[in-house]
């Protein structure tokens, strides 16, 4: 079954999401620089096509799991910019009431099982989500995002083996941005491509141009359909590049400026914009209007986070470690 052909509106939605991710992260880095935002933030800039293309292929009943580089997944899954920004700023109004920050945004009810600070650690979780969907006899799937570095973790291996064995409805989407922090794929992965490992788990593996949102969309759609048909998981490797350093303070001495230029010339937003202009689905004016709209949304998110949102109260520190129990000073008790 071929993926659904995207209507013009859908395509413009994808473009907008990509712009949102970029604008959001530009803002995040501005706030980091101004010390208005604390913590570590890993930028997705350059990789927008992956999350956006992939999430366009699923519906409300499906799930995703995210990574430490999760803003893109979140936004593409339909997150509210305001609640996201509030979360990054550690505010009570954020997705996780300020407890998670950039690396731990989740919105389980909306199908986002969460980001994680431990590389590879959501791969088993996604696999378990797939198991639940299979056991409940749902036609739903889980998209599992992870990096090239994560493909060398034990969790990757154990999970993909289980999914291949049990034919779980999970699409494993490796975002190969050529580096795990400072270590290049050639210096970390014994094989050339992560997708080369698919055969070790009895699932199809495919390399996708991760700088092209429609290619990602199509590949993920196909894998999703396969999973919905009960034929099991797929391993997709989206080749891409992170334009920024691994995190703030990374001097990027492990890669050349030439390499960066080469990839910047393949900017996924620019490519998609060009494509849409060429097929007549977009005009320059419409693009500018979109950019403006996104800029305003981002500013509104900033305002919401920094001006309209309270910090969490230290009094709430102990809330919600457990369901139905409360931590007193001497004893954890079941609430009555």
């Amino acid at each position: 079954m071929a993926p659904k052909i995207l209507a013009r509106n859908d395509k413009l939605r994808l473009l907008k999401q990509m712009l949102q991710i970029r604008a959001f992260e530009d803002k995040v880095f501005e706030l980091l620089a101004r010390d208005l935002l604390k913590g570590a933030s890993h930028a997705y800039v350059g990789e927008e096509a992956i999350a956006v293309g992939a999430c366009a292929a699923i519906g409300l009943e499906d799930y995703i799991t995210s990574t430490h580089r999760g803003h893109g997944h979140c936004l593409a899954r339909g997150a509210d910019l305001k609640l996201m920004m509030a979360e990054l700023c550690g505010k009570a109004t954020g997705y996780c009431r300020g407890r998670g920050g950039s690396m731990h945004i989740a919105d389980v009810k909306a199908g986002n099982l969460g980001a994680t600070g431990i590389v590879g650690s959501n791969i088993p979780v996604a696999t378990g989500a797939g198991l639940a969907l299979q056991m409940k006899k749902k036609k739903s799937v889980c998209l599992c995002f992870f990096g090239d570095g994560a493909a060398n973790t034990g969790a990757f291996h154990e999970s993909l083996n289980l999914a291949g064995l049990w034919k779980l409805p999970v699409v494993y989407i490796c975002e190969n941005n050529l580096y795990g922090m400072s270590v290049s794929v050639e210096r970390a992965l014994a094989v050339k491509n992560v997708a080369d490992r698919a055969s070790a788990y009895n699932m199809p593996g495919k390399i996708v141009d991760g700088m092209k949102v429609l290619e990602v969309y199509e590949a993920v759609s196909e894998a999703v359909e396969r999973a919905r048909r009960g034929e099991g998981p797929t391993l997709l490797e989206c080749k891409a590049y992170r334009f920024r350093g691994h995190s703030r303070g990374d001097s990027r001495k492990y890669r050349t400026r030439e390499e960066e230029e080469h990839w910047r010339a393949r900017d996924p937003i620019e490519q998609f914009k060009k494509h849409l202009l060429e097929e007549g689905a977009l005009t320059e004016e419409e693009f500018s209007a979109l950019e403006k709209e996104v800029g305003e949304e981002t500013s509104a998110a900033e305002r919401f986070a920094l001006q309209e949102s309270p910090d969490p109260s230290p009094d709430d520190l102990y809330d919600d470690v457990y369901v139905d129990y409360e931590q007193g000073n001497t004893r954890l008790r079941r609430k009555s």
């Binding site: 407890r99 998670g100 989740a106 969460g114 650690s121 979780v125 378990g128 989500a129 001497t330």
Partner: protein, 325 residues
Amino acid sequence: MPEIFYWEAIRDALREEMLRDERVFVMGEDVAIYGGAYGATRGLYEEFGEERVKDTPISEAAIIGAAAGAAMCGLRPVAEIMYIDFITLGMDQLVNIVAKNRYMFGGKTTVPMVIRTQGGAGRGIAAHHSQSLETWFVHLPGVLIATPATPYDAKGLLKTAIRDDNPVLFIEHKMLYRTTGEVPEGDYALPLGQAKVTRPGSDVTVVSYSRMANRSLEAAEVVAAEGIDAEVIDLRSLRPLDIESVLESVKKTGHLVLVSEGYKNANALCEVAFRVNEFGFDYLDGPMLRVCAADVPVPMSPVLEEAAVPSVESIAGGIRQALAD
């Protein structure tokens, strides 16, 4: 009341909960056809089929992590880790996902799952199959911990664990599976966090859990013959911890002996001691004393193994010393 084995009590709890709630399922290594390394899942595969009783590959991290994912998506997995020594392989999933997701995600999700595992020495199977590692998880917010010493407690606590919306680490003891005890027929659930005074006494309080709770009781009988009247408390769960029952007893006796099969150094029961120091400082008529496993990897040789974990005699010795100090 009928007497059944500890393993049967666990099997019955699983079975009844699976009948009650179709979201409950069992997964782990050799839990289906084999029926579990210690037989605690025997018959479930035959009754419920591989849909709900799943043998897994040897992949502890994936077992725990997949259970977590399934739990977040509405199921209620009971995952088995064959020996607590192997939980080290799924430690990241347990510590960083299972225990933290709810809080870290703002209280907006639940991870209702049980990890059944077993620990303890006694079979001469050495350092990789004999540890008692519960202390680590007492030092980890986010999971509840049950440590039943009897068939009755095992069944009642496992039912509660399965019904609880929190992740529960359910730690059995390999030397208890073939012990028997009275268990009422039909459904009952026991609350987590309620210690049981298994022997009332007035001279000294002995606090323990799991197999050592039974040994402590035996030791109490040994010293009873010498005129020492020990009160023995089985904590039954390490989180929640029923410190009130301990305090109440120490208030009466003035002496406390802690007995654990975990390594001595920084043993979880030091927490009990600390709280007694905090909230019952004036109750104490002498130093608190502990009888724990030696700080060595559990050796295989039966002679050494016996010396490495608390025995009835060493517990009795501890009780005597607590009163002598």
